[in-house]
């Protein structure tokens, strides 16, 4: 295993732990708030993570990039962003109503 692969493995392990922790807080938060857009945000999160995995996997596995996989990961991230944009817009509308 090359140096880059080792570093990437280590950093991405941290990312996974933080993602799990974030998911835990997210599920607790969704239990408390009445503005419920949890499903949208969670879907977006899944696409983002999958996109990231496709992007980073070649670096961990072979220590370099595979352009096809990189493009695919960008597409997944774009989908995630579109969903997320819809989600935060709805949250903005809901909160605006709740705050009024």
């Amino acid at each position: 295993m090359g140096r880059i692969q080792a570093i990437m493995l280590l950093l991405n392990s941290i990312i996974l732990i933080l993602a799990a922790l974030s998911f835990y807080y997210f599920s607790r938060l969704m239990k408390l708030v009445k503005v419920r857009r949890g499903a949208i945000l969670a879907t977006s999160g899944v696409f983002l993570l999958t996109g990231y995995v496709f992007f980073i996997m070649p670096w961990i596995a072979i220590g370099g990039a595979i352009p096809m996989m990189e493009n695919f990961s960008y597409i997944l991230v774009s989908i995630a962003f579109i969903i997320l944009l819809y989600g935060v817009s709805r949250i903005y509308m809901d909160w605006k109503g709740a705050i009024k």
């Binding site: 990437m8 990312i15 997210f26 938060l29 239990k31 708030v33 962003f81 944009l85 705050i99």
Partner: protein
């Protein structure tokens, strides 16, 4: 190339997301939103970096920028979420009211309410009784399982929050209602009942301040326990028993025990899906209407109404405003919260009421002003008439002395002039005598002079007196009065009044005219009608003809006192006088006088 286009698209999308989060922050400035902003501000730079740095670059380690950026984003997100959770949990923050789920908000409100009383009971008897009470309630309502009184001597329901979404709010409310009722009962054992109720008011007000979602669930407690229960406790034991039997058999949804304590638990089981407030108000009004007659009988109507009104006014302001806003006041029976009823009337009703009251006030002012003016007029006339009569008597005496030659001999011309002088003195004296009739007749004096006399006889005499005038104008008079009719009153005064009207009719009827006088009994009054076919009175004048000094027809002369004297005499007898007329066709004067049948 595709990778670059996609990176560009992602830059735009991530910027858009950042803008929306900034918009949220602009309306609602909170620290946790700043953390979200921080995390999302990194995202566009990752894609900008991907455009600059390529995997083929000699600096291979540049790839670590991606995981490091993601770690920063994740840490920021974690901090933001943690911050948000803490804000929602803290009852002091705005998020508690705005973002907290309704069922959890209600659960927390019950927890606050219970802790309010626990905080007061613990210094008195410690926590053991509270723990026993909680255990007994958990046995009855397993929904409370997991709730406990911690070392901080406070009720903790966090375990319940985990499953709250799976339980009906009605079930939670019933369980907590029973727990809180038990705590209230425990507290009442150590403090006076009034103090316990006062604390219940304070507690519910605080809980409502924290989250108004609880309103529908605590409204029955506030209404029945703080408004009705204190009144029930003032009733006699046998009356409480009577109320209990009647209410417990009814569909009120509440139970009353022998001590006058009200249990509203059943209401939670019957709660409708929607319009809960209407349901509570209707149940309360129903129960109040059932209990009120017995309460009134027990402690007196006025006392009962005033106690219920006072308890309503003592209700927590935030709960009172909601209940009043939902139409409770309008539904309350008469005698309770009367002032509030006027205040809370609809705008239209209020305007109507104000217009009505204004009219009444204006009428009262006008009547007062007229009365004052009438009084002043009467005093003035009285003074003037008396002051004039004295010198006139003296003039008259001297005129008579001159005529009799006691003050020296007079020539023929002087005697003629003296005759004219005497005639005018007599006219002036009569006028003054008329003026003296205008001031109000002294009723007491009148009582002494009252007698029963035949109407036919008096009117016959008057017609006889007027015969010269009638024959001068070739007028005819027909009299149709049953001989059995009698008038009750001062014969002289009433005769004068009738004579004035007949005189008036003669005056304003052209030669050859007719006058019809008739009378009949109407209840205990004699209704006399004097009808002529004279010139008549116009519509705008008819209301003023009874005013002193009003002269409709200047040509006929006179001071305009005759009819005002009539009015004064008739009203002094408790009677009524009015006129109907058509210009050119004649007038009819109506006199309604006290009377009866001849003995």
């Amino acid at each position: 190339m595709i990778g670059e286009i996609l990176s560009f698209v992602n830059i735009i999308l991530s910027f858009s997301i950042l803008v929306v989060i900034l918009m949220v922050y602009s309306v609602y400035r909170r620290v946790y939103l700043l953390w979200f902003i921080l995390s999302f501000s990194i995202v566009p730079f990752i894609f900008v970096y991907s455009l600059i740095w390529s995997p083929g670059s000699p600096f291979k380690m540049g790839v670590v920028v991606y995981p490091i950026s993601v770690i920063i984003i994740e840490v920021s997100m974690l901090i933001a979420q943690k911050n948000l959770i803490e804000s929602i949990k803290s009852g002091e923050e705005e998020e508690y009211k705005m973002l907290l789920r309704d069922d959890i908000a209600i659960l927390r409100a019950y927890e606050h309410l219970a802790n309010f009383f626990i905080g007061r009971i613990v210094p008195l008897i410690g926590t053991s009784s509270i723990k026993e009470l909680l255990e007994s309630r958990i046995e009855k309502h397993p929904v409370l399982s997991g709730s406990f009184v911690g070392v901080d001597e406070r009720l903790n329901t966090r375990a319940l929050e985990e499953i709250v979404g799976k339980i009906e709010v009605e079930e939670i409310s019933l369980a907590f209602y029973e727990l809180i009722s038990g705590l209230l009962e425990l507290y009442s054992a150590f403090v006076p009942a009034d103090k316990a109720i006062e604390d219940l008011r304070k507690a519910t007000e605080k809980v409502m301040e924290k989250n108004a979602m609880i309103f529908d669930w605590i409204a029955p407690i506030v209404l029945f326990k703080t408004v009705l229960e204190p009144v029930l406790r003032k009733c006699r034991q046998e009356d409480i028993m009577e109320i209990a039997i009647m209410v417990n058999r009814s569909k009120s949804g509440i139970r009353v025990n022998k001590d006058g304590k009200i249990d509203v638990g059943m209401l939670y089981k019957e709660y409708p899906e929607k319009e809960k407030t209407d349901f509570i108000i209707d149940k309360f009004i129903y129960a109040l209407n059932k209990m009120r007659p017995i309460i009134q009988q027990s402690i007196g109507e006025e006392n009962a109404n005033s106690m219920i009104t006072s308890n309503f006014r003592k209700m927590p302001t935030n709960i009172k405003e909601r209940l009043y806003g939902e139409g409770l006041v309008e539904k309350l029976p008469k005698g309770i919260l009367e002032e509030e009823k006027v205040t809370l009337m609809s705008r239209e009703k209020l305007i109507e009421e104000l217009v009505d009251r204004r009219k009444k006030l204006e009428n009262a002012y006008r009547e007062l002003a007229e009365a004052e003016l009438g009084k002043m007029k009467a005093t003035f006339l009285d003074v003037v008439a008396h002051e004039l009569r004295t010198p006139l008597t003296s003039i008259k005496t001297y005129v008579e002395l001159f005529k009799k030659g006691k003050l020296g001999r007079l020539t023929k011309t002087q005697k003629e002039k003296l005759e004219i002088m005497e005639e005018n003195v007599d006219k002036l004296t009569n006028l003054i005598n008329d003026m003296l009739q205008i001031p109000s007749i002294d009723i007491k004096e009148l009582e002494l002079r009252k007698e029963k006399f035949p109407a036919e006889e008096v009117i016959g005499e008057i017609v006889e007196d007027c015969s010269t005038l009638l024959s001068e104008k070739s007028m005819s008079v027909s009299v149709n009065i049953p001989s059995s009719l009698a008038i009750q009153g001062d014969k002289n005064l009433l005769g004068k009044a009738i004579k004035n009207i007949i005189g008036n009719s003669i005056k304003y009827t052209p030669s050859g005219g007719k006058i019809k006088i008739s009378a009949k009994m109407e209840g205990d009054k004699v209704h006399i009608k004097i009808k002529d076919n004279g010139v008549g009175i116009s519509e705008d004048e008819i209301e003023r003809i009874f005013d002193p000094f009003y002269t409709g027809n200047e040509k006929e002369g006179g001071m305009g006192l005759g009819l005002s004297i009539v009015k004064n005499i008739v009203e002094g007898h408790g009677g009524k006088v009015w006129a109907e007329s058509t210009v050119g066709k004649g007038s009819t004067f109506h006199l309604l006088l006290p009377g009866g049948k001849n003995d």
